[in-house]
Amino acid sequence: MTLPLFFFYMFSAIAIASAVMVISARNPVHAVLFLILVFVNAAGLFMLAGAEFLALILVVVYVGAVAVLFLFVVMMLDVDFASLRQGFLQYAPIGVVVGLVLLLELLLVAGSVMVAPETAGAAVLPIDGGIENTRALGQVLYTRYVFLFQGAGAVLLVAMIGAIVLTLRHKPNVKRQNPNVQVGRKVSETLEVVKVKSGQGL
């Protein structure tokens, strides 16, 4: 058994096991932590497949931001999970049907690749084997797709401005840090050197 194959089975096994734990863990905080484990293992799988950019983005975005957001939500909102679980058995058949449909779709996708193997290779943008994929992405993002990339950036800017406009409130009686004042302080304004005679105190 070669080393990559070993890692593949290790990552996959841990990912599947922790995915099961995500939905079966009693404590929602544990469930989120298992979710993070799934993400990390999926990142490992991407790494094995040669998609190192995607692997790191998965860690940065999903583990770093999304999962932490989940944790915040779970811990800050008082969600009554016991009542959410009620009626689980009642809706189980619907879940089974949805699962079967998904399985069927997966089989169809896999089946079409089996029947016509050339479809798998028919990518619109063939990857140049010589360069790593972070560099390849950078090359198309700032040349071929520069307009769309900058446009997407403008959309994000609007989202940020919008969030600030709609939610930021300057309350009058809040003490705020003023870095300018803090940095600009002089020794003479804050420190006073007092000569104390011995035995007398202040």
Binding site: Q139, V140, T143, R144, Y145, V146, F147, L148, Q150, G151, A152, A154, V155, L157, V158, A159, I161, G162, I164, V165, L166
Partner: protein
Amino acid sequence: MVSDVTDFASLAPAYPEMLLAIGAIVLLLVGVVINKERSTLVSMLAIGLLVVVAALVLLQPADGVLFNGVFIADGFARYMKVLVLGGSAFALMLALPHAEENGTHKFEYSILVLLATLGMMTMVSANDLMSLYIGIELQSLALYVLAAIKRDDPRATEAGLKYFVLGALSSGMLLYGASLIYGFTGHTNLQQIVIAIANDGRSVGLVFGVVFLLAGVAFKISAVPFHMWTPDVYEGAPTPVTAFFATAPKVAAMALLVRLVIDTFEPISHDWQQIIVFLSLASMVLAAFAAIGQRSIKRLIAYSSIGHVGFALVGLSSGTQGGVEGVAIYMAIYITMTVGLFACLLSLRNSNGYVENIDDLAGLAKARPFVAAIMAILMFSLIGMPPLAGFFAKWHVFLAAIEAQLFVLAVVGVLASAVSAFYYLRVVKVMYFDEPTSEFAAVPNELNVIMAVSGFLLVTYYFTVGGSLASAARVAAGSLF
């Protein structure tokens, strides 16, 4: 890696967009640094920026397809961009008086209008399903925030939320349509889609995609049956914001629709023609009857704008160059009328703040004869009474429909126009013949100027701007055929 970004000069057709983007970011910094509650300076600079960008659009006759085919600059795009920029500039001007009360005093208001305008220019110049979507999202996201910008007002917040939820739904439909079109033609580039359709013929999947795509765009122009959000959002949003909603975004979405159906789906014109004819008929008829029961002026304007979209679509239904010319002229006149109408609306204040109900207009002719006169001119123009500009707008689109043998559409359009005369004339009757019930406050000067310009243009349209507008529209439409 092939790229057409070789030097800065080759980007000349995109200079206006680049200037607007950089200008918006610079003004954002200016606003943050000044950091005042009310920021007239940023609004003024934003209006100036829009004027400069419009001049740049006019002075840059370089046509071209840029950025690997996602961006197109042609005569049609230039014409529509000037309309969009003009609409946005007037909307910013309308927001200047009584800004605190409207919630438009924050400097972010101007920045969001600028970024929305950037999105609209991207829509007008979209030559790819991806740039089309980015443009629409940039525009819509800014509009959602603008609707709710008066955040302590429950009605404005409701309007923003409603617009956001329904807008997200329409974006979903649009994307679904785009994915089907991509799946069945293999291209996202609009010009390559034309070639693919011409070669492979139509397929059911492609028609499905076209239907979903057109539904998404119809939501943006608020054509029936995708109009439900319009009255609520127009009523809830602060009036200057409503003025912005009713002008520039409609023109941009209409330009996008024209480019899609005339250029991209030209080989399957029989399929889209049915959709456009239905949208047009439904919009005209529903708006004519639904507006009759309205008491609120802003809801009336909302239904009126739905109806006018229907009339503009009459021209598009024909699918001919004359029809597109009619749409172009219609949108220009529609913007002039709408800006004038909102200037009147914003200048009408009594002791309770803005006048919102039609009945409160009673006796306006005695108290403020100038405003009442302009309002009456606008109402007659909206009906389509000759020799006012509104008549020529309708004349162009109906002529195109008759030339394309769409007699039913033209007849229904004229009948709907006659029905709509009832509620437009009622406003005139209330202003001139009812006894006054309340005092009206003084009118700010900038609104007087806008009203005077709008009234002058509408009355003297045939003798002054009519000829040059028609020839500009002819050039614009010609670039699509």
